[in-house]
């Protein structure tokens, strides 16, 4: 079902939704937000795109294998940043104790590894939400 009003409104809204999601993820250490909320906003914008421009079209939506790779990369990046603390001689996920530069509080480049952690959480949450929705919503081809 294609609706011209839904398509035009989605085309207007999706860039702002994704910009807002990126803002929530990238500034999660200074202002309210973080990886989970921002990843959900980005995932809902991509779901809106899929809903407006056709859920049955395989070329338009993020395929399951790509989403699975992004999801695994997010989890692996989180664990890798955590293990970097161990390799630098401190505990798992330790930030200042492992020698990461903390920067000036309030600036964007502050908080050590927290920015990288929120980015990886955002990638994982966004791809997980998209995978959940497409798995539930797509027509069952295997069962036929």
């Amino acid at each position: 079902m294609r609706d011209i009003i839904v398509q035009v409104v989605a085309r207007m809204m999706i860039p702002y939704l994704q910009l807002y999601g990126l803002y929530i993820i990238l500034f999660g250490h200074n202002s309210p937000g973080g990886g989970f909320a921002g990843g959900t906003v980005i995932a809902s914008s991509l779901i809106l795109y899929v809903l407006a421009f056709g859920i049955d079209d395989e070329d338009l939506r993020l395929s399951g294998s790509v989403a699975r790779v992004i999801e695994s990369c997010g989890a692996l990046a989180y664990v890798g940043i955590g293990l970097a603390g161990i390799f630098l001689g401190a505990n798992f996920l330790s930030n200042k104790g492992a020698g990461f530069p903390l920067g000036i509080p309030g600036r964007f480049l502050s908080g050590g590894t927290i920015v990288l952690l929120t980015i990886s959480i955002g990638l994982k949450v966004a791809s997980t939400m998209i995978t959940l929705f497409t798995n539930l919503a797509e027509k069952e081809k295997e069962e036929e």
Partner: protein, 78 residues
């Protein structure tokens, strides 16, 4: 506790009771989305904007879509 808080809480309770009592699952999903948005406003009023953003994104967006997808795979009336 101002009048706006009282009205939001009243709307929240009405939404929750309606979601529990209705037989139509699609209207239950839509009213649950309204419940989540009211809850997000209340979280913001309780000075926790982080939870408010998450509640608006999860409750108002993704949960409603997942419920609709689940309803489309099963039947509409309870």
């Amino acid at each position: 506790m101002t009048l706006v808080h009282f009205l939001l809480l009243l709307f929240l309770i009405v939404c929750a009771i309606f979601v529990g009592r209705t037989r139509d699952l699609i209207s239950a999903a839509i009213v649950f989305s309204a419940y989540s948005l009211t809850m997000a406003l209340l979280w913001q009023q309780l000075a926790s904007p982080d939870v408010a953003i998450t509640e608006a994104a999860i409750g108002g967006g993704v949960t409603t879509l997942l419920l609709f997808a689940a309803i489309s795979r099963t039947r509409r009336m309870e």
